[in-house]
């Protein structure tokens, strides 16, 4: 058991090191040597888990689609907002997440591994279909098209934000994005009850702590 847990931890260290190197240098310029140096572990340990740079990239992308820490909510739209805000909060803190975007926009990595955008779009569309069935969305809203636009807009806002000389908080930008798009798509009575504040992720984490403690 201890050995197995050590193996899981070692694998994670390599994935995080690879994510950092992909993120900083791009997929093509990333080398196994740089990843090893970042991880501070031996080549033998690496090859026990991953046989190539390709496999490391696949591992990073597999970790990327996650609604971890988002609890079921009375409003399905709140869950949709929560996933997007939570991810915006976590991304600048977790290289695995920013590396997965980097790999998706890199033409060579994309041709090798595809992207995780279809999974994000389908996760969002499922929530929006449910939200529509419950009457939370205005009748004209197309759940799939709206989910696709949000995934695109979210991604681009992240890329432009991180490129700025003095970047604002990503979660503040994504919160502003929701304030711009939600009034056009959401039933007014529901809109007033949605929490799209940049502080929402911290509130969710606090709710989770309470839920776990009780």
């Amino acid at each position: 058991m201890a050995r197995q847990q050590r193996a899981i931890r070692t694998r994670r260290i390599f994935l995080e090191a690879a994510a950092e190197v992909f993120d900083e240098h791009g997929y093509d310029a990333a080398t196994i040597a740089a990843i090893l140096e970042r991880a501070g572990l031996t080549r033998g340990a690496l090859y026990f888990h991953f046989t190539s740079k390709e496999e490391l990239a696949r591992g990073v992308l597999e970790e990327a689609v996650t609604s971890d820490g988002v609890l079921p909510q009375t409003l399905k739209l709140q869950e949709w907002v929560d996933i997007a805000l939570m991810l915006a909060y976590r991304l600048p803190r977790e290289p695995m997440l920013s590396a997965s975007i980097r790999l998706s926009v890199d033409p060579r990595a994309r041709s090798l591994f595809g992207t995780r955008w279809p999974d994000w779009i389908s996760l969002g569309a499922t929530l929006l279909v449910e939200a529509k069935e419950r009457g939370e969305l205005l009748p004209h809203v197309d759940p799939i098209a709206t989910s696709r636009l949000l995934v695109g807009a979210w991604t681009g806002v992240q890329l432009v934000t991180e490129s700025m000389a003095e970047p604002p908080e990503l979660v503040t930008e994504i919160s502003a994005l929701f304030e711009l798009i939600l009034p056009t798509a959401v039933v007014p009575g529901v809109l007033a009850r949605l929490d799209t504040s940049p502080h929402r992720p911290e509130r969710i984490m606090e709710e989770n702590r309470v839920a776990t403690a009780s």
Copy 2:
């Protein structure tokens, strides 16, 4: 004069070839050999215009920020919409434009050349400030923040759209993006007069033909 025009044309051929190679392979994997092969011209001709791959990339990025073909309109917001829709129409048809996005999201190219996003943001912000002074925007709208969000959203929608197995038309997606964000930002009487249709670029080009002919 004939010689000068030939030189301008040759320079353009190299920039377009470089744009295609950057777009397909990314900046790092792009080689001078591949660019030469694509251009179908000699190495000597290339080095007359560009001394390095870096210089080719700079040349591509310089061409990228353009409101070409967009005429002044009664509503400043229509000019803002026109630039975004026109670019969405042109991008899938012009590798120089998609390559400039590619170079902006590539970490190594970005560290060498920066991005053109600040220029796009400032172009949009100038139009939105004017629109606000003329009473076209609702009082709560922050022109700079809104321009920044639109540049981000536009970029990401492009990236996600082109990655799809059966991509919709980019101009249709950007038109849908405006339908989602404009009602929250624009004075109702102005909103009704804005043309955000995916066919708007073709109408603009027709207007230009008429304007040039008369």
